[in-house]
């Protein structure tokens, strides 16, 4: 039976970008309003899941040629690395620091090491969720 999913396919193409934009917004908003690394990561993952559900796995793999296991590993490395990074500067493990920067177009913004830490969390979440889902979906046939 062929399922007619033209509407789904068309909508998803656009919606995925909206979801990803939302994810990035949530990620950066986390410090002051609802959001953060964990939610951001989850939203990115759900966007990818949506892609996998709509299109077949081979096609998405061509579009996003990323090994999600490595993404997860990179995330853990970042999260643990920021912890050790603070030790290198002679302060206690996992001490976070922040500084205000003037960025062109965006104006005065605060950048903190906590962002790197949150990025680590987000990448781990994306990596792990996608690794699990992709491996279950792929492991199906054999």
């Amino acid at each position: 039976m062929r399922i007619n999913d033209v509407i789904l396919r068309t909508v998803v193409r656009f919606v995925v970008f909206i979801i990803l934009t939302l994810a990035i917004y949530l990620f950066f908003a986390g410090h002051y309003s609802p959001g953060g690394g964990f939610i951001g990561g989850l939203v990115i993952a759900s966007a990818f899941v949506l892609l996998y559900v709509t299109f077949d796995i081979e096609k998405v793999k061509k579009g996003i040629p990323v090994d999600f296991k490595k993404v997860a590993a990179l995330g853990v490395f970042l999260a643990v690395g920021t912890g050790f990074g603070s030790v290198l500067f002679g302060v206690d493990f996992l001490t976070q620091a922040a500084k205000k920067f003037h960025i062109p177009l965006l104006g005065e913004k605060e950048l903190g090491t906590v962002m790197l830490f949150e990025l680590g969390v987000a990448l781990t979440v994306v990596g792990v969720v996608m690794t699990i889902i992709v491996s279950i979906a792929e492991g199906d046939g054999d």
């Binding site: 002051y32 609802p34 559900v53 853990v76 999260a79 912890g83 976070q96 903190g112 830490f117 491996s135």
Partner: protein, 801 residues
């Protein structure tokens, strides 16, 4: 800092070796590795003048000050001896291994493990803190395990590695218990502080248990009877490893601990008896069993066991000095410890050379079975020279260093026999007798090494290869060692003055001055009892060697099932059976059972806590008003949950489960927790997809076929868990057993600079939790991935547990 550097350098290099090996394929990795022990040796040698004047050096790096664990290195005479041995013999062994191992072997692994061992061993001897010492101690066991199993495709290598690991690590754990008892008595982990406090504490109830535990660690590591069985099996390791770990350094770690802690425990005679008797039994049993071996390495292994027993017993005898008033006539009792240190050095030189000699024969002739060797003297004259010098020194003949320390050993044994302060003369009279008998057997196996290998016909040799002398590179190291064997015989007092004398101060702190405790070593001291004993050893040894075939049968008197090895294997096999039986009792492979255990445990622990602390509370007074739409939402969720029980297909159950989840996220919205609502929504969506994906793996949805009773149990547990969760969540509102933590987060904006308190907690206040959660999440992901990729195919054996 220099000493810290000496420990760190090998460890650092061990970490770098695999990368260097991959990046620079052209260079011979061994030469690079050789730099490490040479550097360490030079670093340490610069301290010899300072140490030989009786001074010591301490360096402290505060590691975990709150637990009293500091990385303190302590450089004194005793640690100096070991440090020089580890780095000196280490350098020679690395040099030898460059020519011994083929470049096709996994050299990066080999040198990585070897350097790991070197760093760990240096850590053991230089640590002043018992906990740090213990950590390095176990690291030596681990690296020894890796090195024994270097040729891990061989069954015997794996078995030998496992045996050594099991025995030395169990001993190590006993030692850890001993260290903790010492800490309980003295409230310190520092060896020097413990030594200072100990004389007043010998009547403590923990004193004897602590001593026994520490000795268990030392005896297992130093292969003392009855724990010696791991050492012969460890000979499966490549020969450089046997020469390094299993004769010169690691097996002497136990002796180091005994020497180091002599001033802690020697105030009690139990120490003297245990160490001396175990040492003597090992000395005899090792030499007795060495004679029957046909594999040259196994023979050397038993000989090492025996020599370690000798050194051990000498330290035992030396502890008698703590029970006499030291003056000119009784200073002689400290000589046993001097002889022990002296023999420790000598043993490393001649046994190292002998192991390398056997390695050469194995390398060139392709076998080390004495039944297939013979007549190698003319083919390999240089190797023959090494063998003769090494064996003669081991047998205790002049003009080699073994003669000097062997004579001192006999002197000490005779002195102990005269020791009559505690009216023990009848028992101690046995000491020189055992020493002499063991020396006779030592002489016999030394003869076996020389005559069976190098004399006789060449007919039995493997004919398929052209046997020739070893390349010069393999001969350098053993020749350096045999050079020392002879040099020490002619200039023993140089060694005594600069190396051994300061170590005596470590064994007997404050007992007498350094010069008083250092005897002048003579090669010739007239026709005294010791010399007659040596002559007796030679005469009897020759007679027994000549008649070996007549009395060989005594080795068959012990039936195979009563040997120690068999006992060890039986215990291991039984242990495996019992644990597999117990595991299979509850690891059924059914997820339903596992859920039952988990929920049952939850009810038991959480429920009984709340019940016993009487904290179940329920009150409606302070609750906010309940709105109609909230009631409706609850009803929807409840209906969905109950309907799930009666669902006819997986899809229905999943959808219903989704209804419950989305209901919860609606509640979060109503109660103004947007973070939670958002998270719950996404988690719900992702898990629904996950569920749908998993359907292909699940069996078709069937009605349960379990018994009525089973169903009732399941129902009871489910309802109880539900009730418990409700009761607990209602009670926590009134729960005040613990301090509230919300006050910590009140200043979130000032402290963490964030307005979103949830995220400041996650990313700053409790960042450590988050970090570990991330790690756990990643591990779980890898777990799922490997489970799916490597799951057992249909028809394979079940590998549930």
């Amino acid at each position: 800092m220099t000493i810290h550097l000496a420990i760190i350098l090998p460890l650092l290099m061990a970490a770098l070796i695999p990368f260097i090996y991959k990046l620079f394929t052209k260079i011979k990795i061994g030469w690079l590795v050789l730099l490490v022990p040479v550097t360490v040796f030079i670093l340490l040698a610069r301290f010899i003048p300072l140490i030989s004047s009786g001074e010591t050096r301490t360096y402290t790096y505060e590691w975990m000050p709150s637990l009293g664990i500091n990385f303190t290195t302590y450089l004194d005479g005793l640690s100096m001896i070991f440090g020089l041995l580890i780095s000196g013999v280490g350098a020679l062994v690395v040099l030898y291994s460059i020519f011994y191992l083929s470049t096709k072997e996994a050299l990066h692994n080999f040198y990585c493990y070897l350097l790991l061992f070197m760093g760990a061993m240096l850590g053991v001897v230089f640590s002043d803190n018992l906990m740090v010492l213990y950590a390095f101690w176990e690291l030596t066991s681990v690296s020894s395990f890796l090195l024994i199993a270097f040729w891990h495709h061989r069954r015997a290598s794996k078995a030998g590695a496992r045996k050594s690991m099991l025995i030395t690590v169990s001993g190590g754990i006993a030692m850890l218990a001993g260290f903790i008892m010492l800490h309980a008595m003295t409230d310190s982990f520092s060896i020097r502080e413990i030594i200072a406090e100990m004389p007043a504490l010998t009547n403590e109830s923990l004193f004897i248990p602590a001593m026994i535990c520490v000795l268990l660690g030392a005896f297992t590591k130093s292969a003392q009877f009855p724990f010696h069985i791991w050492l012969p099996d460890a000979m499966e390791a490549p020969t450089p490893v046997s020469a390094y770990l299993h004769s010169a350094t690691m097996v002497k770690a136990g002796i180091y601990v005994v020497a180091r802690l002599t001033p802690v425990f020697a105030y009690d005679l139990t120490w003297f008896w245990t160490v001396t008797i175990v040492g003597l039994i090992t000395l005899f049993w090792g030499s007795f069993n060495a004679v029957k071996q046909t594999d040259l390495k196994a023979l050397l292994a038993f000989s090492t066991v025996s020599q370690l027993g000798l050194i051990m017993s000498l330290f035992g005898m030396g502890s008698l000095a703590f029970h006499v008033d030291i003056d000119a006539s009784t200073i002689i009792y400290t000589q046993a410890a001097f002889a022990a240190l002296f023999h420790l050095m000598n043993h490393s030189t001649f046994k190292g050379a002998l192991f390398m000699m056997v390695g050469i024969i194995d390398h060139e002739a392709g076998t080390r079975d004495i039944r297939r060797l013979g007549g190698l003297m003319t083919i390999m004259p240089a190797t023959f020279t090494i063998a003769v010098i090494g064996s003669m020194s081991m047998a205790g003949l002049p003009p080699f260093n073994g003669f000097l320390s062997k004579e001192m050993f006999l002197t000490s044994a005779l002195k102990v026999a005269e020791f009559d302060i505690f009216t023990l003369s009848s028992a101690t009279a046995l000491v020189p007798v055992i020493a002499w008998v063991a020396s006779v057997f030592t002489f016999i196996y030394c003869m076996i090494i020389i005559f069976k290998t190098f004399f006789g016909t060449t007919e039995k040799l493997p004919q398929d290869r052209h046997i020739h002398e070893a390349p010069i590179g393999m001969l350098i190291s053993p020749f350096v060692l045999v050079f020392f064997v002879i040099a020490i015989f002619f200039f023993p007092n140089v060694l005594a003055k600069y190396i051994l004398a300061p170590a005596m101060l470590s064994v007997y702190p404050g007992l007498a001055s350094m010069t008083d405790m250092t005897p002048h070593v003579y090669a010739w001291h007239g026709f005294n009892t010791e010399l007659w004993m040596t002559i007796g050893v030679v005469v009897f040894g020759f007679v027994l060697y000549a008649t070996l075939s007549k009395w060989r049968n005594i080795y068959n008197t012990i039936p195979a099932q009563f040997t120690l090895n068999n006992a060890f294997n039986r215990v291991l096999a039984e242990g495996e059976n019992v644990s597999s039986f117990i595991t299979k009792l509850y690891m059924t492979g059914s997820l339903r059972h596992y859920s039952l255990y988990m929920y049952g445990f939850l009810i038991l622990v959480v429920g009984s806590y709340f019940a016993f602390s009487d904290t179940f509370r329920f009150s409606m007074e302070n609750n906010a008003e309940i709105h109609v739409y909230e009631v409706l939402l609850v009803l929807v969720m409840a209906v969905a949950a109950v309907a799930m029980l009666f669902a006819k297909s997986c899809v229905t159950a999943t959808v219903l489960n989704g209804v419950v989840g989305f209901g919860i996220s609606l509640f979060f919205v109503i109660f103004r927790a947007p973070d939670l609502a958002l998270t719950q929504l996404i988690v719900e969506s992702v898990t629904t997809v996950l569920f749908l994906l998993c359907f292909t793996y699940l069996p078709t949805w069937k009605p349960e076929k379990t018994s009525h009773r089973q169903k009732m149990t399941n129902a009871t547990i489910s309802i109880l868990v539900g009730l418990l969760v409700v009761a607990v969540s209602l009670s926590v509102l009134y729960f005040n057993e613990f301090k509230t933590i919300s006050s910590f987060f009140e200043n979130a904006y000032e402290l963490a600079g964030g307005k979103n308190i949830v995220n400041t907690i996650l990313g700053d206040f409790r960042a450590f939790d988050t970090m570990l959660e991330v790690v756990v999440l990643c591990i779980a992901g890898i777990g799922v991935y490997t489970m799916i990729k490597f799951r057992t195919k249909k028809g394979d054996d079940r590998h549930e547990n």
